[in-house]
Symmetry: none
Subunit: 256 residues, 2 copies
């Protein structure tokens, strides 16, 4: 059976095929469908699903994704499921005795993108919930993907593994850029200090009849807090603001 190409506008035929090998719970197939679609992949394939396919138990956990992936094809072997692929990755948590390249999910994603851009069709294998992929199935892959996680607690469920690998593929399509970073200061105020200042400021503003229209008071408070929060104040600055507040309302002593 061939990979489908759906006419639905959400489909992305250029994306990898994601192959679940002998998955057990239909709920996990549904959750995997949701995860791939989150990442703009619609080519999901099953090899010998334990409980058969289609399976209504997959619908709730797919959270609507099944509507957009109308045909999830089943195959009787990994060989058949990857027959249209030019390059196959196998996800595995453990180092194996097969000598093949091992990539992180992030490195694999950028490798996938390069291959796609050269016209290749890539495929990613995920083993079943309990046993993972057999050595024979692993031998069909060109390289292995390992997701670097807490070495003391690295076990992911099937849908989470599918999500992370698919997410890395989706991120690799764009160059994501960061936000400018303020230079580090060692003495940023804690939220507790800042909230004490907000509370006092708002009490004083109340006393000064600043909130003339009670309907917009919550919005005003939200906006005032947003502007001071954005500045990411230091402890010294909170003390300065407390002093400013004391001075403006005519008190001689500075609290806090």
């Amino acid at each position: 059976m061939k990979s489908k190409t759906s006419s639905h506008p959400i489909s992305n035929p250029n994306a990898p095929s994601v192959v679940l090998v002998h998955p057990q719970m239909a709920e996990n197939i549904g959750a995997a469908a949701r995860a791939v679609l989150n990442c703009n992949i619609t080519d999901l394939r099953l090899v010998n699903p334990r409980d058969g396919w289609p399976n209504d138990a997959a619908i709730p956990s797919s959270s609507g994704a099944m509507q957009f992936i109308p045909e999830i094809h089943t195959y009787s072997s990994v060989e058949e499921a990857v027959s249209d692929a030019t390059y196959v990755y196998a996800t595995t948590a453990r180092a194996r005795d097969i000598v093949k390249p091992v990539m992180t999910a992030r490195a694999a994603a950028s490798d996938m993108l390069k291959r796609q851009n050269s016209g290749e069709k890539v495929s990613i294998l995920f083993g079943g919930e309990r046993a993972g992929l057999t050595n024979e199935q692993l031998s069909l892959a060109d390289s292995f993907i390992t997701i670097p996680l807490n070495p003391d607690f690295s076990s992911l469920n099937l849908a989470q593994a599918v999500l992370l690998v698919s997410y890395e593929w989706a991120q690799a399509k764009d160059i994501f850029q960061d936000i400018v970073l303020p230079t580090g200061k060692s003495d940023f105020a804690t939220k507790g200090m800042i909230n004490n200042f907000f509370t006092r400021l708002e009490e004083e503003l109340d006393a000064a009849h600043f909130f003339r229209n009670p309907d917009i008071k919550p919005t005003l408070i939200k906006n005032i807090r947003a502007m001071f929060t954005r500045a990411q104040l230091t402890e010294q600055e909170i003390r300065t603001l407390q002093g400013i507040l004391s001075a403006l309302i005519g008190k001689k002593s500075k609290p806090n």
Copy 2:
């Protein structure tokens, strides 16, 4: 209540605190515990979990993680849950009308790491399954995290969102990203408007005898200007600050 520091070797007190705000299903709390521990985070906190805490329904989905996160503290408000943090990120799927930096999960992760390396404690807020975070809760954050996904199908379940953001944090320990300026807003205040405000503020502080020591007056003025400048104020915010100033000194009319 304070952040715990566990003596278990798996714990990483330097990691962010992950705060689930009004989570509904205990199963999702367990799955979130598994996700954070996968990424070497053990500081998981709950604000008003719907079904109470501790809750045995969280144990199966945690897949053993609960053993390694012995104390998940609960709090009655977001303010309380982040009171020890110097910087707070809020995850949100939608653009909001609050003017704050919006970062991808990857950019945020690198931002977190730089802050941690400067001795900051960062916290990440996740809304409940159904409603997400309220505008009031969002206003407590310094910046927003958006996970770039398929725009036609971007909804993640709670544990998956926790996994992706935590995963990016875990990956960022090795990789630093590039820097870009936040997208501009058309209504940032001009320096002229800002300087008018500074001038008036300083005149009023003079009148209120705030600058008791003339030697340090220039330094104080510089510091006050720096903190307001850092917030990159909008025109509306300058008007609000002018109104606050008028109210605090007891004038009824707002100049400017």
